[in-house]
Every structure is written in C-alpha cells, then in structure tokens.
Symmetry: C2
Subunit: 376 residues, 2 copies
C-alpha cells in the first residue's frame, strides 16, 4: 500500500491523493460505504462498482467473525472473492462493535472477552487475534484492536483506555508485520488515535503511535455522542501531528455538510452508516436539502428526488414513486434510496477532490459553510 499526495490546499489542511492498493487505486479524499455483513445493505456489488464507482468499502470484522466466520471466508478465497468485490476493502478491528453491541465484556491487558449478540457464545478478541481475523478476510487495510469509550469519559478513564490502545496497537502492529512478511501480504494496518475528547491525550496518543511508522493513521472514538463541534476539534488537534505523506482516516463520520470540514482539517478517508441507514429510514440527502419521503407533500410529486443528481434513482423515478415504495414497505425503496444517498456522498467527495486539485477548495468550503451561516 502506497499513498501518493497529489495536491494540498494552500489555505486549509485539505489534500488530494491516491492510495495504491492490491485491489485498485483509491482517489482521496474518499468516503467508504459501509458493508457490515459483506454487503452494503440493499445494493448489488455491480451497482456499487458501476453506478456509484465506489473504490473501497468497509466491512465489520466483528460481524463477519461471528457470521459466517473468518475461517469460512478464508476457505472461500477471502472476503473480496466471497462477496465478489474486486476493489479495496477496509475492515475495522471489531473493537467498536464489541463495546457497543456485545454483552458481558471483560477487558484485560490481554484483550476483550465478550458474548456474541447473536447467540451469547463467549469469544475473546486480542490484538493478535483481530489481526488474524482480518488477514483471513484478506482486507487491504486493517485496524488494530482499540479500547472505545462512551461519551463522556473522565480524563483518567480516557487516559487509561488510550494507553491500553497504544500498547495494543504496538502488539498488533508487530504481529501484523511479522505475519505480512511471512505471507507477502500487501495489506496495511493503520493504528488508531484515541483519547476521548481530550486534546492532550489525542496528541500524546498520536505521538506514541508515530513511532510505529505505519503507512496510515486513523482517528477513532469520535461520533460516540459528543457535540459535533467537539469531534471536529479533536480531529483538528490530531491531524497536524500525523505524517503528511500518509493517509488519515477518521472513523464513523459524518453528516453531508461535515464532510468538507473534515477534509479541511486534513482528513483523507471517512466512513459512516448515516447515508445508508438514513436512506432505509426514508431520509434522503439532496442538493436542495433533506427530503423526508413519507411526507404527504410528495404523494403526487412527479419530480426526481434531486434534479442535480445523476444516480439511477434520480434518472428513473419520481418522488411520488419513491414515497409509494416507502409507504408500502417495499424493499426496492431501500435499494433506490441507498444508491441515491451514497451517490450524494461520493459526489461530494469527488467535487472536493476536484476542487483541491484545481486549487479551489477554499471557495468550495465557503459555499458549504454559507447556507449554515445564512440559516443561523
């Protein structure tokens, strides 16, 4: 894995680049659709590739570990082959899901003991085992096990979790390097900066993780309930410390209008369930604002969801038809809505990339911020 920095905005931290992976080139800044259980809910892989031109998706290690099991996926040729997705895949470590979904977790220096949310079976995740799981999946970008705290957390608790996260990252990274050497894997592992909402802890974590000289870094533990301004503040406190020539990935963000804010702070990669989950719930993002499709005003609306969007949903169907599908509980709604919302996100990312390459990102950011200022 290699990162090629192509352009930097002279006025903000925004950057455009290319991540070269064993499964294609990823143009950054990039938003990664979430494919938790080896599928982006409701969307065919062919539509992800052809309609959306997604270059990388995210899958969840916790879910795939439990079902169908990483050994099954390994036997079947790895996750790319299993789900027929020839492009890049990033997997998280499972840490976040263990802390948010599973029961009866017990954290020790060795790792996390937890019970599956599916059947209650007991499992242990260690820094080494989560690397093994992700290597079995064959991910292009792996994440090390980290300790995720709820918000708010005390400085002391955040410090302990951060220190443990650093120790686990060191263990995971060393283990990963040895495994990758043995197998000739072209994958990369990105250490995760933690530290809750304390800038000093974020900075300390980043500086400790830099010693690993990893090919990319992630910022985790955000979007856990804190005010959105705080998530941006923590990002801003961290990115300047991270290597300029490596990709930076903020995990689990953000709202459409926040994408530019993260990019302005030097973020290259993001992921979030928001566009796909909101789509399924009938909340659609458009260039004219949010559309809550169940509203009666759309019952006879012959217009496309977003006249400025070129996705198959907007090219083909009316708001009235989409509303009908939603009201009738038809699966096709989720498919069409998810394709649209993801296209909306990916288009924003492509526009930002273009703006950075053309030296116009400051204007882009100004235009994104203007409506927010005007409506405040």
């Amino acid at each position: 894995m290699r990162f090629e920095l192509q352009a930097e905005c002279p006025d903000t931290g925004a950057r455009a680049g290319l991540i070269h992976t064993g499964h294609g080139i990823i143009e950054t800044p990039v938003f990664m659709p979430v494919g938790t259980q080896a599928t982006v809910k409701g969307v065919m892989q062919s539509d992800l590739a052809e309609e959306l031109d997604a270059k990388i998706i995210l899958a969840n290690t916790y879910h795939l570990f439990l079902r169908p099991g990483h050994e099954v996926i390994r036997e079947l040729g790895g996750l790319h082959r299993f789900m027929s997705w020839p492009r890049a895949i990033l997997t998280d470590s499972g840490g976040f899901q263990v802390f948010s979904l599973s029961d009866l977790r017990k954290i020790t220096e060795e790792g996390v003991l937890f019970r599956s949310h599916l059947d209650g079976d007991e499992h242990m995740f260690t820094p080494e085992s989560t690397v093994d799981v992700q290597l079995a999946l064959g991910s292009d970008i792996l994440m090390p096990l980290d300790e995720c705290l709820e918000y708010p957390a005390s400085h002391e608790a955040a410090n302990q979790a951060m220190q443990r996260t650093v120790r686990w990252a060191e263990t995971a990274y060393g283990y990963f390097e040895r495994q990758a050497e043995d197998t000739g894997s072209a994958s990369a592992l990105f250490p995760i900066v933690q530290g809750s909402m304390f800038a000093d802890l974020r900075r300390e974590c980043a500086s400790q993780l830099l010693a690993l000289n990893a090919p990319g870094y992630a910022i985790g533990g955000l979007s856990v309930g804190e005010p959105r301004s705080l998530s941006l503040e923590m990002t801003e406190a961290t990115t300047p410390l991270l290597p300029r020539d490596r990709p930076r990935y903020v995990m689990g963000v953000g709202m459409p209008e926040e994408l530019a804010e993260y990019v302005a702070r030097g973020v290259d990669m993001m992921d979030c369930v928001l566009p796909s989950r909101n789509a399924r719930n009938g909340c659609l993002f458009t260039s004219g604002g949010r559309v809550i499709i169940k509203q009666a005003r759309y019952r006879r609306d012959p217009e496309p969801l977003d006249a400025n969007c070129q996705c198959i949903t907007c090219r083909t169907y009316s708001r009235a038809y989409l509303r009908h599908l939603f009201q009738a509980g038809e699966m096709l709604f989720s498919t069409l809505a998810t394709i649209h919302n993801l296209k909306y996100y990916l288009d924003i990312m492509r526009q930002m990339r273009q703006a950075i390459l053309l030296g116009r990102f400051r204007d882009f950011l100004y235009n994104v911020r203007k409506p927010a200022v005007e409506s405040s």
Copy 2:
C-alpha cells in the same frame, strides 16, 4: 392488442405466438413476474428488463387502488410511467384480493363491498369501477371483476358464482368497450372462466363468455387449495373451448415442473408469486432440483447456485455467500434469489417456446415428465 399464432405442437395443445401490445411484443408462452405494488419485490426495473428480459409483468389492482390510489397513478401518467416500466403490464381485477385479503365483504349483484386490509376503510368494487381503475392505471391487459370461491365449493355455490361472474364480465366488457372507444385505448380485457372444480360449469362459463368475442381469455379460480391434478384437469376441460386465435391465460399457476403441463394444454400466459415468494423464503429452483439455502451443507459451498444458469446471481456469487446473506437477514439475498428464481422460470418458458417453434415440444414434455416418473 393482437395475437399472432406462430406454431402449434402436433401432439399436444402447446402453441407459440406473439402478443402485440402498445408496450411491446410478448413472446408466448410467457410467464409474468408479479409486481403487486408496482414493484417486483426486491428487483430493480432495469434488472427485470435487462437481466431477465421480462416482456410483461402483472400488477395488482386491489393493492394499487388502496395505495397509492389509481387517481394518483393516473395523474402521474399511468402505471408504466409511475414505475418506469416501458413494457407491457397486465392487471387483475382486484376480485381475488377482495376475497382473500379484505374484511367484511358483502357481495350483491352490483358488486363487492369490502374493507381495506390496510386501514379498514370501506370500498365498493363493481364491474365498471374495476375497469375504471385499470384504465386509470393504463394497463395493457385488464381483467373483469369475478367472484372467486374457496376450495372446496358446492356445485350450487360454484354455479351461482360462475353465473354472476358471467354477468359481471358482460357488464365490464360492454363498459370497457365504450370507454376504450371514447379514449382510443389499445388495451384489451380478458374475460375470466370460473366454475370451481366442476368441468360442466367451466364449459358452460367458457361458452357463455365466447359470445363477448374478446381478444383473449383467462382461466381463474385455480390454485385455491385444490389438488394440483385438479387444476390441470379444469384447464384441460376449458382450453379446447377457447378460440384458437386468442391468447389463453391461466391465473396464479404454477410450480416449475407444471409450466410444461399447462403449456401442453394450450395455455399461453401464466403468473404466480411462487418464484419470487419462495426466493425470499430461501427456496431456490435450480436445474439440479430445489435448494433450501439455509441448510448447513451450503455453508462452505463455493459453487454457483445453478451452474447451468446465466443469471447475475449464478454468474457472480457462491452458494456460501447466498447462504450467509440469508442467515444474516440481508436484503441483498432477496434480490439475488428473486432474480435467479424468475430467470429460472423465464428460461423454462423460452425453452418451451423454442421447442414448440422447432417442433420438439413433445420431447421437451417427455423430459420434464421423466424425473417425476423416475422418482415415483
């Protein structure tokens, strides 16, 4: 609407033909995927057209009347435009759903009074009103209101329902003809032969409906719980009485292995929820027999669902991946499974048509019947 008879099997009643409609030419024998609520559940219209090459689909008048309402669909340019389906559409009269889904129905000579299964609102369907609804939808082929009985029914009850069905068909047909003349509609209305499981009533019904000189005829009231041999027997008692130069449509059949039996009895059109509903429930039809995808034997099965099938599901994914999606409750399973099952049905229809055109339908039928004989 015009039917062009292209070939007849010298040994059976099988026929191949073309139905020319205002929305394209339909090659018969044809199986019509069911798109109850203006969507074939889980399948995008582009996949229906390009992947499956369906030339006609069926939509349910009852459901669309209740939601979103036929007036809404009329305002939005009719059902073809509403759902972005430029090919042919057949709609039923709503009679079957009124009898099977709705509450508190009261049948009079005028029509059927019923309560919506959605909100309990009272509505009336008459022979004229159901024609109006279907004209508002803009269907290519309409069905007149008929009285559908459960199985078993007494000869007397069946006779009364049949006689009423004939009177309603006469009313509907006359009304439809006047409306079509006024509007220049190119649609067609197919009277429905009823008579429960009594061959004498079926014959009497057919001979009365022939007086309408309709451009096509349907056989209804089958697949209501009777033994499958009886459904075939009733079909066999009816088709010889129907005009040779008009299409014959048996409503709501059948199992994959029955398709050839209906075609052998002179049936040109069929529809059934079976392939799509079974797909969603994890029952898949393949050239090697039924696959119940949840079975543990498929957990590590790298093979395509059906190596003889060219659908996107079989071209792209393994049984193990399909099983995983099913077990995980992922929507993509329903999409991939429905596409496959419909492809399986449509392929059988295309093979039969080819066999009829080449004078080889007898062999085709022999091969379909052989495994049934061998396993008995």
